[in-house]
């Protein structure tokens, strides 16, 4: 329909893609965008169209680009059980409690699971540390940063 070769169309698409993603990535202003494409020597009408295309789509392009960052495994769910070891081959009459935890993680649509085991006192220590970490959010230092980010 455009009466040009397949290669030309492909290069055209690639060029437009690059222009839009780079502009959106760097979040350049209208004036900077206009100045940049002016160098290419297109007609005024084409320049206006390109600018409009950029302004209309940059928010969406930015949100898609934001999702492309590498992600660490994230929490999905947790299963646990509490057992008591009463005897083993070497020693009878024991009382040894243990907590077994299966941590389900999500990483880029992959589900993995880690199995961990701990005794109750280590578990309490873990909970204490995590609550301390949550408590950090309430310190003045963190509050100041959060306020400045908004």
């Amino acid at each position: 329909k455009l009466n040009v070769g397949v290669d030309t169309v492909q290069h055209g698409v690639e060029g437009l893609t690059y222009l839009l993603t780079e502009s959106s990535k760097l979040m350049i202003s209208e004036i900077d965008f206009q100045d940049s494409i002016h160098v290419l020597g297109f007609s005024d009408e084409l320049n206006k169209l390109l600018l409009q295309l950029y302004m209309d789509n940059r928010k969406e392009i930015r949100s898609i680009l934001g999702e492309l960052t590498p992600k660490l495994p994230s929490y999905h769910s947790l299963e646990w059980r509490l057992d008591v070891q009463l005897a083993s081959r070497s020693l009878r009459q024991q009382i040894k409690p243990a907590v077994t935890i299966k941590l389900h993680l999500n990483q880029n649509e992959d589900q993995t699971a880690q199995v961990l085991q701990t005794d109750p006192s280590t578990l309490l220590h873990l909970i204490q540390q995590l609550e301390q970490a949550l408590g950090e959010m309430k310190t003045n230092h963190c509050r100041r940063i959060v306020r400045n980010m908004k």
Binding site: L86, A87, T100, K102, V115
Partner: protein, 199 residues
């Protein structure tokens, strides 16, 4: 305020918020919806279209229907988890603002299925691996490159497990001499005797 069916903790805010949605449905229809949710919790298929039909009279939006299913699922499984009896559950739900007939219908459904629900929850509890079956074979070694007349029995064991960590079937083969096998058997019998004292 602490609730037994929440494990002696506060009731979650979202549950509190949905109690008023439950009250919009008639108590008879609520009991039928409970029956469907119980089917799902017990591992059978829930008939979602029936639930949609039952909630259409109360003019609930799709979001409210899903919330109803979620809150009923929570109440029933949490009550079973903490072994709450039917009357206590009814009184606690009424404290949260659920009308008496609704609480009564819900708790009657709960009571019927309480032990099945607890059995199902017990079966779903975390297990790292499960023994499926044991295959065995006894061979008799006649001779080897080291000794011309060996004449010894040999036991082959193959433990078929379902690995809990990766949820895949695993086979563990091993070979034991007669003496080693006798030791293994004696130790396992001692472990079995210990288990029987606990049952």
């Amino acid at each position: 305020q602490r609730f037994r069916f929440c494990g002696d903790l506060d009731c979650p805010d979202w549950v509190l918020a949905e109690i008023s949605t439950l009250a919009k449905i008639s108590s008879v229809k609520l009991k039928l919806i409970c029956a469907q949710v119980l089917r799902d919790l017990l591992g059978e298929t829930m008939e979602y279209e029936k639930i949609l039909k039952l909630t259409s009279d109360a003019k609930l939006e799709l979001g409210d229907v899903k919330a109803t299913i979620a809150v009923l699922g929570f109440i029933l499984s949490s009550a079973a988890k903490h072994n709450v009896d039917s009357e206590s559950l009814s009184s606690e739900l009424q404290q949260l603002g659920l009308p008496k007939e609704h609480a009564g219908g819900l708790c009657r459904s709960y009571e019927e299925k309480q032990s099945s629900l607890q059995d199902r929850l017990r079966a779903c509890s975390l297990r790292l691996s499960r023994l499926g079956s044991v295959g065995w074979r006894v061979d008799y070694t006649l001779s080897s490159s080291e000794l011309r007349e060996v004449n010894e029995p040999l036991v082959h064991l193959n433990f078929h497990l379902r690995d809990g960590e990766r949820d895949k079937p695993v086979a563990i083969p091993m070979v034991l001499s007669a003496d080693k096998f006798r030791v293994l058997l004696a130790e396992l019998k001692q472990a079995q005797a210990m288990m029987n004292t606990l049952l």
